[in-house]
Symmetry: D2
Amino acid sequence: MNNKNKETLNEIEEQYNVRTDLAIEAREMVGEEDVEIKGVEVIVDNINDIDLSITKVNILDEYGAKELNKPIGSYITMECELMKQNDPEAHEKIVRELAKQLNELVKVDKDMTVLIVGLGNRDVTPDSLGPRAVSNILVTRHLFKEFGEPEGDGLNKVSAIIPGVMGQTGMETFEIIQGIVNKVKPSVVIAIDALASRRTSRVNSTIQIADTGVHPGSGVGNRRQGLTKESLGVPVIAIGVPTVVDAATIVNDTMEELLVEMKKQAKENSEIYDMINNISEQEKYQLIKEILYPYVGNMFVTPKEIDAVIKRLSNIIASSLNIMLQPSMEFDEITKFLS
Amino acid sequence: MNNKNKETLNEIEEQYNVRTDLAIEAREMVGEEDVEIKGVEVIVDNINDIDLSITKVNILDEYGAKELNKPIGSYITMECELMKQNDPEAHEKIVRELAKQLNELVKVDKDMTVLIVGLGNRDVTPDSLGPRAVSNILVTRHLFKEFGEPEGDGLNKVSAIIPGVMGQTGMETFEIIQGIVNKVKPSVVIAIDALASRRTSRVNSTIQIADTGVHPGSGVGNRRQGLTKESLGVPVIAIGVPTVVDAATIVNDTMEELLVEMKKQAKENSEIYDMINNISEQEKYQLIKEILYPYVGNMFVTPKEIDAVIKRLSNIIASSLNIMLQPSMEFDEITKFLS
Amino acid sequence: MNNKNKETLNEIEEQYNVRTDLAIEAREMVGEEDVEIKGVEVIVDNINDIDLSITKVNILDEYGAKELNKPIGSYITMECELMKQNDPEAHEKIVRELAKQLNELVKVDKDMTVLIVGLGNRDVTPDSLGPRAVSNILVTRHLFKEFGEPEGDGLNKVSAIIPGVMGQTGMETFEIIQGIVNKVKPSVVIAIDALASRRTSRVNSTIQIADTGVHPGSGVGNRRQGLTKESLGVPVIAIGVPTVVDAATIVNDTMEELLVEMKKQAKENSEIYDMINNISEQEKYQLIKEILYPYVGNMFVTPKEIDAVIKRLSNIIASSLNIMLQPSMEFDEITKFLS
Amino acid sequence: MNNKNKETLNEIEEQYNVRTDLAIEAREMVGEEDVEIKGVEVIVDNINDIDLSITKVNILDEYGAKELNKPIGSYITMECELMKQNDPEAHEKIVRELAKQLNELVKVDKDMTVLIVGLGNRDVTPDSLGPRAVSNILVTRHLFKEFGEPEGDGLNKVSAIIPGVMGQTGMETFEIIQGIVNKVKPSVVIAIDALASRRTSRVNSTIQIADTGVHPGSGVGNRRQGLTKESLGVPVIAIGVPTVVDAATIVNDTMEELLVEMKKQAKENSEIYDMINNISEQEKYQLIKEILYPYVGNMFVTPKEIDAVIKRLSNIIASSLNIMLQPSMEFDEITKFLS
C-alpha cells in the first residue's frame, strides 16, 4: 500500500536524525560535561547507598532550548541500576525519592483534580509502561462524586485513563485527551510514557520527569501531536523511562565506535585517517538499511527479561504517584491498593 | 469503610428488583407468549440449519415502554447454541446474519464517522466482552487524517475506544465518551457490553442489538449513567451478550421452582398451599443473603470455559461490525485485520 | 459425541454425592462440633490480631477415615478473611504461620530435593492457583547441578513443575509426575491445587494442608488418579484453597435452607412437616438440573474479583513455601525472587 | 553472585562462536551456493504464488556433518515473507505444505502415540513459540484411555507437554521429557522451539523441520542437553522458527559489512587494506561488549510487532501438526479445536 510505504520512509528519515527523548542525552550530545552551555543549568546529586544519581537539566531560555532541541523547562533524570532488578528495598528508596522529585514539579492539594494518562500500546511489551503504571494508580475522583468528600480521609481527587495508540483507536491520543480534559477539567495532567534511549546502559535504569509535557515524535510508538500546557490548557508533567534502543542506533553506534578505534590506530593525517573522516553519513545509513533489511525502522533491541522489568518499573512509578498524590496515607496503606 | 458499605447495600437492593438487560426476557416476564401486549410488537424468525432464532421486540409507544420497563425502540435478539462452541462454519453464518441485522438499525456511508465503544472491565473475564471485541475492530479514521482518502479502497471511517470502568478511571464512562464525542464528532456511536441474564440457558448464546443506547444499571459492572442519543447528541446502537447470571438470581429461581413444585403436590386451598403463597419476598431475600454470605451482590455464576467462550463471542461481534462497516471488503480480507 | 455425554453424566453423578475437599467440612457433615467422633482428633487455635483460626483434624485410624471419608493423616486448615483482601501486613503474618504449619508436616534439609507441583489449568482463573503459585517458587536444584553446591548460601534443592491438565496434555497428571519422580528422584512432593468448597463463606479465605497427598476427584478440575505416597513412592504434601463453590451446591443448599425454614414455621407432625420430609433426593436433583440447564456439572459460582484474589492467594502460598524451604534466607530476600 | 558471573561469561563465549540453528545458514557459511560440498545434498523448490521457497539440506555422512557442524539427517527449510503477516489465505497454503513436508519426515498411524513438546519460556515473547503452538494442538490420547477407541473417528493418539525452562523448573528439559517418555512410551517425539538466526531477513519468516532432534545450545534460551533418538530412545522431529537475532550478531555483522565496504574503497595491498585485515577477532569482540554493556549476552533484536507475529507462527505450526496427525479430519474440522 502506498500509504504504508510513505510511513516507512518517514520512519527511516527519523532514524537519520539520531534522536533522544532524554534531556540528559541531548545535553551530552552538545558537548563535554565540563563545558558550560548558555541557557542550560545542570545540577547533579547522588544517593550513595543505592548508587542513585539525580541530574537536573534546567533549560532556562530560548538559547538553551535551541541548543538542546528541547523546550524551556525542568528535566529531572534519576539513574539507578537497581531499578530494573528485583530489589524491593532499593525500590522503596527509589519510590520515595521519585515522589519527592515529582513534588518539586507539581504541588497537589485537595482542591485539585489530577488526570493520569498512560501512553503507549499495552500489547507491545516495551511500549506498555504507561498502561501498566496507570493500572496501579489509586483512583479516587469517583468516590467524591458518589458519596461527597470521604470524611476524615484527606484524599486528593485522582482520575486516570489509558487512551490506546492511534493504530488501535483511529484517533490521535491528543484528541482523546483533549476531549476528556474539556469535559472533566482536571487541574493538571501527568503523562507516563516509554521512551527511546541512545544507549543500552540507560535502558530500563533511568526515569525522566519534566514539566514540559509530551512532545511529538517522543515515545517508543512515535506520538504525532504533543500533550502540553499550550495544547491542553492545563500543566502537563511527563514521566518517562527509556525501555528500548532502536536497532538502527545500535548499528550506527557500532560503526562510530569502530571508526574511532581505527582512527586511534592510524597515524594522524595518514591516508586511513582521511578516509575514515570522509565516510559520508549517506554511506552509513545505507549500511544500516542493509543490515536491518527488511525491518529498518521497526526493530528494537531489548533485554530478554523485558516483561519482568517493565512490571517493576511501572510499579515504581505507580507507587511514587500514589504516595505523592495521597500524602495523608502511609506507604504500607498505599501498597494495599496495588494489585 | 462507610462508602463501601453504602455501595454494597445499593447492590443488594438492585438484586431485589430482579432485573434483566434483555428485552426478550422483559417481554417474557410480562406474560405468556401468545397474549398480545399493547404498544409492543414481536416478530420471530428462524435460520434452521444452525438453529438460530431471531426475535425482534419493537416497543412502539410509551405504553409498551412502561409495560416492559425499557425505552421505545427496536430490540433484536439472536439466539444460537453454536455461538459459544468452537464452530467456525456456524460462526461465519452468525457473523453475516448479525451484520445484516445491524444494517437494519444503522446505515453507514462514506461521509460518516463511526465510534465503537468497548464497555466493561478487561481484567474481569465475563465483563471483558466489549474491550476484547474492540481490540479486533478495523479502525481506519486515522488513515484519512494522515494521507487523505485512501484511493480506490472505498473505506468508511471507523474509530474505537476502550474507556475502562469507573473503578479504574475515577470517571463515569459517560464523561469520557461525551468528551471524546464532543471533540471527534462521530456520526454514530456503537457500544458493546456484557449483560446479565435471568437464565443460564441464555448465557453466552444470545446477542441483543438495539437502537436505544446503553442505559443506567445495565451491564455486568453496573454503569451509572446511560449512553443515549439524548445524552450524547448522536444515535447510539447497543450490542450486548449476557455472559453471567448473578448468583442471587440462581438462588431466587431455585426457591421459586421448588415452591411451584410443592404447590403442584399440595392440594389447592390446603394448609401447605396457603403457606407457600404466604412466604414473603422479604423472607426469600433473607435466605438469599444467608446462602451467599459474605458475598451477596458480588457473586457470578459462570461456565468453566468462560475464557474461551468470551474470545469466540467477541470475535463474532468484531467480525460482524467489520463486515457491516466496510462493505467494500471481502469476508476473507476482513479477517486479515484480526489479530 | 457419545464420549462427551458419558463424561457429562459422570459429572452429574458426582454432584449427587455432595462432596467436599476440606476435612473440616467433612467433619462438620458428620455431626455437631461438640460430639466426639471415634478415631478423629480436632484441635482449634486462634491468632487473634488478624482473626486467623487454625483447625487441625487428625484422622487417627481406619474408623475415623471411614467416618470422614478421608484417608488417615493430618489436615490443617487456616481460615482468615484477610487472605483474599489486599492487606500486605496481614499476608505477611499468614505467610509466616503457614510456613510454620508446613514445617510440622515436613522437615526439609540440605540432603533432600523437593519437587513442587502446580496442579490445575492456568487458563481457567479459579483453577489456576497451583500454576500461579509455582511460577513464584524459588527453584534452585539446577544451580547445584551446574556449579556444585553454591558456597555459603545454605540453599536447599527445590524443583517445580506445572504439568497441565488432561485435556491439555492427553496424559493423566499422575503419569507425568510419576515419570518425573522416577527420573529426578525427589525426597518429597508438595502439590498445590484449587479445591471446591461447600460454602461461599470459605471460598478464597481458607488454606488446607495435609500429609495425605492429592486424591482422585479432588480439585476444581477433577483429577482422575491420586498423587500419594502409595502411588509415587515418596511422601506427598497437599496444599489447597477452595476457590469456587459449584453452582449445583448453591442450588442444593438453597433448597435445604428453604425447607428448614418452612419446617420451623410448620407445626411438627403436620401435613406440611411430613411433606417436606418426604421430598426425595431424586426430586431435588431433578430441580438442580432444570435450574442449571444446559450447563449442570460445569457451572461455578465465583466472586467478581476472582482474578485479583487468586493472585494474592498464590503469592501467599509461594512465599510460605520459599520461607519454609530456604530457612537460611531472610523474608525480604525471599520476596526478591518473586516476579 | 559467582555462579551468575560464570554463566554470563559462558554466554559471551557462545556469542564469539557466531552460531546458527539453521542448517541453511550453516550451509551458507561454508561457501558459495554453487560450490558442491562433499556429504551434503541441497535441493531447492518454490511455490510461486505465495513466494514460498523450500530448501532441503541432507547431511549424508560424517564428512558433511563436520563441514556444517550439524548431525547427519534431513533439514527442510520453508521461507516465506507472508508467514509473519496477517494473511489467512497464504497461511492455509503454508499450513498444508508444512504438513506435507512433516509427513516426509515421519509417518503417523493409529498404532502410534505422538508426544508433542513445546520448548521455551512462555513468559518471554520471542521464546514462547513452542508453548503457544502446543496450546493449540488437538490432544486425543486420554480419550482412548477413558473410553476405548472412539468409534469411527479414526483419530490418532496425540499427547503434549509444555515442560518450562530450567530457570522455572530447576530441572533440565531433558530430565522432564525423558521421565515422561519412559512412563508414557510414545512412538515419536515432536519438539517445537524458537531459534536464533544470523539474519534479520530470516526472522519470523522461516520454519525449519529436521529428523535429527534438538541439540544442546539450540534455541533462544540455550538448552543444555539434547532431545535426540540417542538420548530418548525414540525418534525426535524438531520444528523451529528463528524469532530473534541476538544483538551481538547485529553488531558483529555491522562491523563486517563496514570493513568490507572500506576494503572496496581502499586499493588492494594498501596500508588501509592491510590494517582492515589485521583487526583481530579479539578487538571486535571487545567492541561488541562496549556497545552492548551491561547486557552483552542477553540482548535481542526483535521487530516491534513480535507478539502478534508469534501468535501467527504458532498457529501455523499447530494447524500443520493437527492436519498431519489426524488425516481423517477435514481442514475446517481441525480449526474447530483451536482456541
